[in-house]
Amino acid sequence: MEKLIKSNELSLILKYALIDLSRNYKKISSIIITLFISLFILSSILTIEDSLKKELNDNARALLGGDLEIDYNRVQGNLDLVNEVKTFATISQMVEFSTMLSTTKEANNQSLFSRIKTVDENYPLFGSVVHEPVGALDRIHKEQNTILVNENIFKTLKLEINEKIKVQDQLFTVVGIVKTVPDVSGFVAFGDFALAGKQTLELLKLNNLGSFLNYEYKVRYNDGDNPNAIKQRIETLFQDDEKVILRYPENSASGLKRVINNFSQFLSLVSISAMLIAGIGIANTLLSFINQNNMSIAVRKAVGFFSLNIKAIYYLQLFILLFLITSAAYGLSFLIIPIVDGYLSQGLGLNIKPIISIVNFIKVFLVGLLVLIIFTIPTVSAIDQVKASNLFRNVFQNLQFYYSKKSVVLSLFLLSILILLFTIGSARPIYSLGYFIAFFACLIVFFLLSKLIIYFFRSLKKISNIPLKVSIKNITQTKSITPITIMSLGLGVTLLLTLALVGTNFKREIAKSIPEIAPDYFFLGIQKDDKKIFEENILSMDDNLNLETVPIISSAITKINGVDPTTYINSNNDSYWVIRSERRSSWMDVAPKDNPIIKGEWWDLTKPDELQISLDAKVAEDFNVQLGDIFTLNIYGREIEGKIVNFRAVNYRDLSINFAMLFNPQFANNIPHEYLATAKFSAGKSLDETKMLDVLPSLSIIKIADYLSKVTAVLDKVFIAVTFISAITILIGLIVISSAIMVQGKVKEFQNLVFKILGFSKKEIIYSSLIEFIIIFASVILIAILFATIGSQFIIENIFELNWQFDLKILVYLGLGIGSVTLLLIMLTNLKYLNPKVYPLIRNQ
């Protein structure tokens, strides 16, 4: 390398790299296209992720609703402290709750379970509420019994402006439609919501557990005040209040950020798969390009160029090309932002703008560089094989990939860096690593498959059918493109089929759970005195109703074995939700059928005065608590100690009544409680919501099917994005195959010429190409189906913990689709070699 540091040689290398690149770029168009597509996907993912995060960070205060949030959950909290804050900062008080909204038309009235946010005149402290008509937001403060509903409520209930709707037993006038609110970090991100004035609270009965009541006080510091000083002052003020949770802008939209991280990690992995497949094609195209320049390389060596200089010229060309392609791909990725913005501004009210990030540009460039170097080391090293002495003999050997020990070690080292780049710092590093292992395992299997096919067909000796003989010869010849076709097609098809199987299984499982397991309705907020009325009314609607009613109370875990529960679990743990805020718990005499006890005994009836707790086994494992450990619970302000007596296997996904904690009834029956019910109607029967709400206005009714259809709609959008990205991977695979065919172009042309001279018909040549394709594709699709089956089963059963089912139909449809497209491409690429001109070929021109 020391020769390269001479500046005059470097400038010479640069000059020739530029000349070569400017004249040869057409010959390496497939490298440019595949590299561009892969880098464009990666750039788009990074740009969208960054733009979204920047929007969330820039609007963190708007998303939280203030510089600080004082959250008292179900209780109004210490108003003295809140009022004290009002002396040095602005406060917007809001209360969120869930209840039913019903139409008051003459007939066919409808109801919808919605979240209502009561706000005062200070709302919003940051950002703005997008609504129509103008002045509607002011009306909810000035006029009593007025409400602003979101677009979905407006459409679903077929409302009109100034129409009356019923909220519990009160009539409200719909004064407008609210399109977006700035503080989306909470509940309103995906559900239906409405805005009402603060006086609404006094009109409604909201103290039941089914209201999911939440008192929040948003704080805005006065201009010119030191934010840290004010923050500290508030923290000091509330330090002795155990019921309060203080939130800051940096905590806002944490759920949304987690979703963005997970989704972008997944898409990044798919995009790196596309890049690695592209790498196979790049190596192949470059080898063909170097072979075409075999003579030029030999001449350069003859006139005194070092082999290292020549390799440097090629590497420099790739480097320049990569820089230009990265710049174009990164620049064009900004065009995606308006499309994503269109999606997000409707749902979340987020307006994202493209963010130019040098770090992202370098990351994309670095990924491209690593892929390029890894795949071009054996190709460019082939330059060492070119001998200037060939010029005397007029013979040029066809170059092969050249692997030295040093280059293999270097390639593996760079590959490890590439994997680490996508693994370290990702949302779930273990999944990323697993993905890479699976990817390379598939790659090796497909490579071995290609070798097996070649070996098998080479051993076939007695074949009389000429087209079959020709196609087998094409598959097994020394310079065959069989390994490249099988590897690139195999990986792309495997990825697409796996995602398709995961998608169909996921959707089927969700759809399946509605009729088979889940109830039709959840009823919340049934007061102790109303239980009988509720049961009588609902049973009158269906004699064969499957009704389950259980008591519920709300409690918070304040200590575990006498210490702070947060010392038992990390806030990133899946089970952290159990201690995040108050949770609903129930009790029952016998263990539920779908919650089997896996450790310990059911209630000890000899100790009715002691609280006994049955705990979800997964929660117990995550908290690392044992039988006999003590939970201190805060129930209605009283601290009660309970002993864990058993662990249950709880499956929350069956959508029946499930609780993390169950209590012994002998003890719990004495605690003030209300009821939760589920109902499944027999065929032909349904709930008369209007009648039920007339009887029990404060009842909340959740229709399971509505929620599942919302989840399915979100999943559909996610799967469209995922399928699009994996389809691009297939496209790159097809470009790789097409380039591999073109690499063979000269040989193919010559071969077809010989066939022509020998009297082959065009039909027979096409027929041989068809047989060749069928042999390759049939073996690829079989292995791809096998991998997709194993992969999707693992994902569905281990990551989503759902039942997996083989879906032949989707595999057949996709297999046929990909097969047809690939065949068409191969035929089109081969078309120009079907009619070779005799004269230029035999004159070696």
Binding site: L12, I19, N24, K301, V303, F305, S389, L391, F392
Partner: protein, 221 residues
């Protein structure tokens, strides 16, 4: 005249399967500076192999080769490339111009490699001297055989090498072009004081050299 090139008991053998092919055997040869030599012999006698060894493009199986008193048979590929870059110009029967470089660029390549100033202008001057002024910016595919060979000669001699090796330089040309190429080569060698070793079947061309070496069955006859 001092010694430019010395070959001492040089042998070249190839193993093809079980057969050992003796291409060159016990070659002893000394050439002086500014000497013009023609190498003749039947096809397969080892003429081209001999100049490949002299150019350092092939390694001798045994024996020693000295160029300007430096033993090139001991040097590695890059070290020989450095000598070739400065002191040895090679001309092939099939011209071997870089197809996507213009005539000027093909010639300037060696000048730039040797850090000449104004390489393009020098290349143009040389091509002009060889009657190719109207072909400066043409690609090799747009040139006739004679023109291509003149560009190839210009490329080989542009850096005024001590030694010019020409392998059948007129083999692909008609008689008129052959005469022109021969004149260019010999005139240049005379004017610039370069040594010229030319491998040829053409007796007229061979006779133009001061010294004639005949190779038969890998040995100097």
């Amino acid at each position: 005249m001092s010694t430019l090139l010395r070959l001492k008991n040089v042998n070249l053998k190839y193993q093809t399967g079980k057969d050992l092919i003796k291409v060159l055997q016990g070659i002893d040869l000394t050439t002086k500076r500014k000497e013009t030599i023609s190498i003749v012999g039947e096809s397969g006698s080892g003429k081209t192999s001999l100049i490949m060894l002299i150019a350092g493009l092939e390694k001798a199986t045994s024996g020693k080769i000295f160029f300007k008193d430096q033993e090139i048979s001991k040097l590695n590929e890059d070290e020989v490339a450095e000598i070739r870059r400065k002191d040895i110009g090679i001309i092939f029967q099939s011209f071997y111009l870089i197809p996507n470089y213009t005539a000027v660029e093909n010639v300037a390549l060696t000048l730039e490699l040797n850090k000449f100033k104004n390489p393009e202008q020098k290349a143009k001057n040389l091509l002009d001297r060889f009657g190719l002024k109207h072909r400066f910016n043409n690609l090799p595919s747009q040139l006739s055989g004679g023109e291509q060979q003149r560009v190839a000669i210009a490329r080989a001699i542009a850096m005024k090498p001590e030694l010019i090796l020409a392998d059948e330089p007129t083999g692909n040309l008609d008689s008129e072009n052959s005469t022109m190429i021969a004149d260019i080569l010999f005139n240049f060698a005379k004017e610039e004081g370069s040594s010229l070793i030319i491998v040829t079947h053409d007796s007229k061309l061979a006779n133009k050299a001061k010294r004639k070496i005949k190779i038969k069955d890998g040995k100097i006859d």
